[in-house]
Symmetry: C2
Amino acid sequence: MKFENQPSYSLGRRTLSTKDVAPGEAGTNVTLISQLTLGAINRGRVLQALYDNGPKSRVDLARLAGVNRTTITGIVQPMIEEKLLVEGDAAPSDVKGGKPARPLFFNPDAPMLGAVLLLPGKIQTCLVTLTGEIKAHMKTEFDPLGDRDAFLSVMRETLSSTLSQAPQAPFGIGVASAGMIDSDNGVILAVNLAPVLTGLPLVDLLQEHFSLPVVIDHHPRALLVGDRWFGPGRGLQTFAAIYTGEVLGGAFYIEGKVYRGLAGSGGELGHSVVQIDGEACNCGKRGCWETVAALPWLRREAGRLGLRDPGNITCARLVKEADDGSKAADALLDRYTRNVAFGIVNLQQTLSLNSYVLHGDVAGGGQMAAERVRQHVEQLVMMRPNQEISITVNGIGEGHTALRGAAGLVLSSHLKVVI
Amino acid sequence: MKFENQPSYSLGRRTLSTKDVAPGEAGTNVTLISQLTLGAINRGRVLQALYDNGPKSRVDLARLAGVNRTTITGIVQPMIEEKLLVEGDAAPSDVKGGKPARPLFFNPDAPMLGAVLLLPGKIQTCLVTLTGEIKAHMKTEFDPLGDRDAFLSVMRETLSSTLSQAPQAPFGIGVASAGMIDSDNGVILAVNLAPVLTGLPLVDLLQEHFSLPVVIDHHPRALLVGDRWFGPGRGLQTFAAIYTGEVLGGAFYIEGKVYRGLAGSGGELGHSVVQIDGEACNCGKRGCWETVAALPWLRREAGRLGLRDPGNITCARLVKEADDGSKAADALLDRYTRNVAFGIVNLQQTLSLNSYVLHGDVAGGGQMAAERVRQHVEQLVMMRPNQEISITVNGIGEGHTALRGAAGLVLSSHLKVVI
DNA sequence: ATAGGTTTGTGCGAAGTACAAACTAACTGC
DNA sequence: GCAGTTAGTTTGTACTTCGCACAAACCTAT
């Protein structure tokens, strides 16, 4: 399946010369900003301001970006003509007189984004509109220990069937995958619980098959982008997303950009050490954060304490049982959230981000669990005057945040929209 | 002491309107790049390319920056006229024919930078040329428990006497200080070992007294900038500087920029936790990295093991004694470097920087100690294919790196030169 | 000595971008 | 109907980078 009528990947840029990428891709350490890249950057930033603040008039955008109204008009007009943005109805303004403002926002009928969420044994695909809506959601399964060709066949079929529901060619495809990902080269390096994926150059394979731009990143980073786009991280310039479950991971949004270490390897927090010579971890080392703050630890401790059905214990159940008066559940919840807090403490001491969004098991415990984590963090971190640490959850929607994030990756990587 | 003939703070920008800062300082989250800021940014990047690569011709700079030769000429010419840069003698080129290239570099006679290093009880001041040379170096002492006015008087006098040796007004003054610093507001929040400095708004005080731009940052960040400018971090786009001694600290250079957390609080690594419920730390918590990888730990363990003069043990001595055949010293060195490694491992898992420069006590142990640390890190971290972790030392010069770094802070903050 | 080739560096005009001032459009209140 | 206010557009200006043509300065071959 190939798309013929591909949209320009420039989201509103009028011309697209081959030379355009040359300055940035010169392969050196220092690059100057040319006149062309300047325009692309500013166009991206206007779009980001729209994402951050919702529908806004030209004047509001000018105020938000600190530039002249005429500049915004110049940037926005071609995007309206390309049907990327639409002008809403004149909103009744709160001021007395004057011409009413026409809010601008993304056109729901603009090309969509393809999104894939790849977890051990499970594939989810969908289309995401530029307004953040999820369409044509599909779920399939694959054998994590099986044959690579079988996996690829399932993958292609599912994605193809989802993408074919788009009225026009999507801007691109974003993939969020569990495991260790080389996002620079588009390769899945290793997924402990799904060996079939090891070493898979998924980006090249999908790019070839669908003739669309494809990006991949690891699961926590997609959650981060999902949070940033239409979740609790919306509008924030600096925050972290933390995933807890069978494994632990994290990703950071720093000074308006998604942080990727070299070859996209930052954020593998699960194997940072919080207990020198502590318990053995899956990774072969000892005392990793994952050994004390992930579900296997929780199950083991629940069993040791004689809690009901320890093999299926979750933070959500723990909160409920503690709420119902179980002292044992309450005590375990306290230890669990404290252990989770240590990882956040180390992040806070290192990067001082101040805002954290929890996903996965702890997020299932809701704001109650988040508040417990926050209290432990405040006790364990070196606080500064006037500093406040915010911890929220974004656990609802069963993969929706990750799928939105995967879609958002396309915007940020291929379309120069900073999300 | 006030300077009258202040240089333009723009390093080669020709006009400086008041409106110039307005767009950037609009106080919002998204800002567009204007035509004026574009020029400033590109000028700064050309200078960075010069720092990174040493004297280079216009053609070389154009190649390095991926831009047209004429662009470089346009940027560089005003700087030569302002006597910021100088054209060197035509160097014999390695190619056969052609007009010989004229290398450009910083004018040694351009205005210098004032630098201050503030450690508990000790003040160092100097002037730093744009070519990284240290001049008019002075050292004085103050009572860390004494009177604030007494400290300020010593401070002013020392700095005044250093600055007066400059033939023309310096570009500004950079201060590197131990302790917890709010670099955004220019305030020393707390220095455990020098309470007299607590809450001191040093930037405002010095700015008022000397009528020069002043910046402050914490000690590890100055080391980082010093490394980046004329040390082992030169030309790197991503690396960390780690300081070990009585306390532990670190700072990061990420994707071409010095990383500062909110209010400049990132990098307080000493109090990240590597041993949940471990030994008590000065900060009131338990199991901080500082409790197992700083000098107090080393002294205590040396005493426990019966090593000679444990109160004055250093990594340097440990290396020497291990080299001379002491099994006990060798074993302790191994544990010490392993404990240091844990902090680097956590950093690597989190940010994946791959390059680390050690300062302070461990750096005193030379490349030998660094290699031990590196080996431990490689054993403790989750390595990726083709990944290499580099650990170097920059321990020589007794404060010179920090002083250079303090000077470099001025370049990067007030002159928009990205170092 | 001279001609041809090569590389470095400099004017000049073109194209692209943001900004400022003046203008039109649309609404409120008297 | 008119003044006042806010939103958005038109027009001209300033600034920046780029491509082309050209001069300057060197080497090599004849």
